[in-house]
Subunit: 309 residues, 4 copies
């Protein structure tokens, strides 16, 4: 018989919510916290015990998981007055799954260490669906021995678990990967609109490019939707801006020129400024459509007046 | 019994040479021309009849094929004093396989049409090896009926033949695809060096990224070589600069902003300016290595002094 | 008593028209040509003898002046079937005042030299007003002795005459100067909108910046108009795109990375794509206004709905 | 008889040191603090009373001045455990002269207000020399009435005092102005090297450009030094990187695309990465010299081997 660790869970939102529910469904005892009453209620309905603060959620926990939107939220959840570190006991393992900068992660870990608490960064690949059905992929940074202590737990939530290296290195890989993703999507948008503006049929262009050297994972994954005129966000332009910024901030700290990430950032910012922030990242296509008056997006939309978005 | 058309072949270089030789080996009669005596000699040794000019090579031809380095060479080969059009008979089909701008292609075709000569643009995917073993992929623009007349001939040289649309559209797709390729490679170089500069092991980083969302065809194809320290050019940085320029020129004519292609162009130009023009396009990694002092390229090179490139 | 040279004048447009008229008014005999019947008529009314072609205008000329919009027009006017070189006599001096690339200039000069005809490149600073009242500034490239032969003539049209160096060097300086101008204007637009978006009053911001380190000639010259909401083109965004392109083309030929000119080009292209091509170059401000919803342009315009441009 | 306020002064470095000494020389009582023992000693030698912490320096002060390198230092100096706010009495005026982001400034001011303490942001134009001889220019944000209380004091340090608007607006103007400065310098560097690479003599090029439309304040001010081969930093490339970043951060918060500032940032980063971080900002010229192998910098340096920097 396995003894399951008691879980504290901070951040019950788009990703954290499904994860917490899955843990409950898998037999874990989970004490959770989220500042949003709605989200908290949803989690409670699924069997999560609510804590009034991160501290409360962490109080009895063997492992604290967190899934938060940005560094400020992470810092507050761990280091704030009612933060996790104010109640976490020595021996507790903290696993932060947020996509944030490695510096904040290291700052939290340093503070945790003084109280005998261990940290891992474990950002994930996958969206809400994968968060709910245990199909996430984890990129983990931190001590290998600490990782072993939470491996079974993480494998309840995900199918793959890559240990990259020391603390923060999970985040580095995640940030670098996302930068590539956002860049490849923006490049594909620019290229598709250029080809269509030059007179080639959008679907024909996609069909050829999708078997040619210029293809990328996200081109194959997202541009069928673009052609169908579907910009339902799997990952929005607004969020893409933020993720590219993490790469820029990391590069700035390392004093490394990153002209491409820098331009990619500006392209998403322009798409956002033109009103497309809520669209899927492939909606950056719309920025180029506005600039050219052509429509890459599907036949239905093609009947709309040119340039009208 | 099939009657094989007589072939004129202009440009017997890296790509044209192997193609002409394959045609001879397949039983075609080929009259070829190349300004380089060396290249001409090589082709002659393989059975190509030499002509003193493009005009001479085209004189008795049913189909003229050409594979030339740039628009100036194409214009000269077709429109110049001893150009193909000065001898091509009505009913001849011209198939230009060069990667050039669609405008030059249309200019040649317009001149040809006045003499009852038909044109196709048929840029290829694949390198010298594929040119020699009949494994090229053709992207064809022009009249469908004209294409039918040369289909068997082109299928001697390639396995796939995509008819995109009207004249010039093969070139549009080729240019757009190459822009995506060059962009994806430069993005991957920037991302890999950023990750390594941030402390992650190059091989580990590649292994994860190659199964993650940021991956692209060229990342998977070229970065194993980068990690091995092998920058033998499959397609050089010097040529990459030129190919991205074709996309920029096309966008300029269409009055379309292309911020990403524009930055990609500058990154290859910088790599070229720092002395890496002869390397494979993935050698753009070296620019970033110089800027950061880290080595993504393989273990052997990693022993070199940092920043020494 | 001075004997005035007989003048051929090719291109009687926005700049060439006023210059030709001024020459006539100063006592020169001028034979002119322009493909536009309207322009030709206007020049004739002012006393210019019309020629049916550049060749006709140049036939009896001691000096041929030209002011043309682009390299294609220059090449045609000099090298074309009815071009200047077909009639120009040995000893004639050709002075091309067009803003074009130095290569085209050198190509024309090389052809001229074979017929004993000398060339100067003499692009100008100043607009139509200065062209008409003799206040232009000339940047001259070419042989110093040749320049001496036309100095009195050029000083009828301008007040300053800078001999830069060998043929083409007038153009180089002109192109480089224009690139700086366009860049400084775009930088100022970006900066002004950023400051206003951050809450500072536009006029107050201009007043301080106009006495601070960030100021430039064009900022001081053009932004009072921007604040007044006046975008009447002194030099349009459409033309700015082209002029920056000359710098890019020159850099490409010299294999020099120019990341800033490259981005400046894209900013003007985006302003053009958003419909502002007809505005003065400082109208690039409108692009940033659209992106932010703030109005830098004057009080009147400020009442318009935000972001509506 | 005027009663002079007692001054607390936090940050006695390059700028703060000379200012504090000037205040002492003008008859003010100054209690200062700097974490560097050296700097503190120097100030003490000039008559500044030393405090062991910002809190100690502020304890008896009517006005606290600060001149600090970055937001982290400002936050610590005011909000930290031994910070100014822990001892500042109600009615004290805080004048922060640091060049930081407006958000940090507003955060400090909000905390100060709860203790009845007023804040102004008053970033300065001018360097160490002007700081010592009272020739600074102040860009002030905050309440006008508060400014009146410190006007005589600030006019001891500077000759001009511009009240821009509400709290933070002095910083906005400063940041925007610096962005323009850095951009204009980088543009001038790119343009000068392009012109020289195209064959024009550097001095001749400067002479013409310095009277042409492309000129800017910093071009006229800094490029004579460049031509003399003198890159002694008045404001270094390293600091320029940081200042452009302030503009980028402000734009990111305001969700405004700033493609030019973004590219300017990367150009300085590249200059820094190539080893020129300690040079004056005009030393960005060296980056372009390396890329082209030409020397814009003066005759002496011109004898050095090309491309060797």
């Amino acid at each position: 018989m396995t003894i399951r660790p008691t879980i504290g869970f901070v951040g019950l939102g788009t990703m954290g919510g499904p994860m917490a529910r899955r843990l409950v469904a898998s037999g874990y005892e989970v004490a959770g916290h989220d500042p949003s009453a709605d989200r908290a209620r949803q989690a409670a309905a699924a069997g999560v015990t609510l804590g009034a603060s991160p501290a409360a959620a962490a109080k009895a926990a063997d492992v604290v998981l967190s899934s938060l939107p940005d560094p400020v939220a992470v810092r507050q959840a761990y280091l704030g007055p009612d933060g996790v570190l104010s109640t976490a006991r020595p021996g507790t393992v903290l696993v932060d799954m947020s996509t944030i900068d490695p510096d904040t992660c290291r700052e939290v870990a340093a503070a945790a260490r003084t109280g005998g608490v261990d940290c891992l960064d474990a950002p994930v690949s996958g969206g809400p669906v994968e968060a709910g059905n245990g199909k996430l992929v984890f990129l983990v940074g931190g001590d290998a021995a600490v990782l072993e202590r939470v491996r079974p737990l993480l494998l309840t939530l995900g199918t793959e678990l890559h240990h990259i290296g020391p603390l923060g290195s999970g985040l580095v890989v995640k940030i670098v990967n996302n930068m590539m993703s956002m860049a490849n999507v923006a490049v594909a948008a620019e290229a598709m609109v250029l080809g269509v503006k030059a007179g080639v049929d959008p679907q024909r262009l996609f069909d050829i490019l999708s078997t040619s050297g210029g293809r990328s994972h996200h081109f194959l994954k997202r541009f069928p939707n673009v052609l169908a005129g579907d910009f339902t966000p799997n990952f929005s332009i607004g969020l893409s801006r933020k993720d590219v910024s993490l790469a820029l901030a990391m590069a700035a700290r390392l004093e490394m020129p990153v002209p491409l990430a820098s331009t990619v950032r500006q392209v998403y910012e322009a798409a956002h400024a033109q009103g497309f922030g809520q669209l899927d990242m492939a909606g950056v296509t719309r920025l180029y459509e506005q600039w050219t008056g052509v429509a890459v997006r599907g036949a239905a939309a093609r009947d709309a007046r040119p340039g009208a978005g």
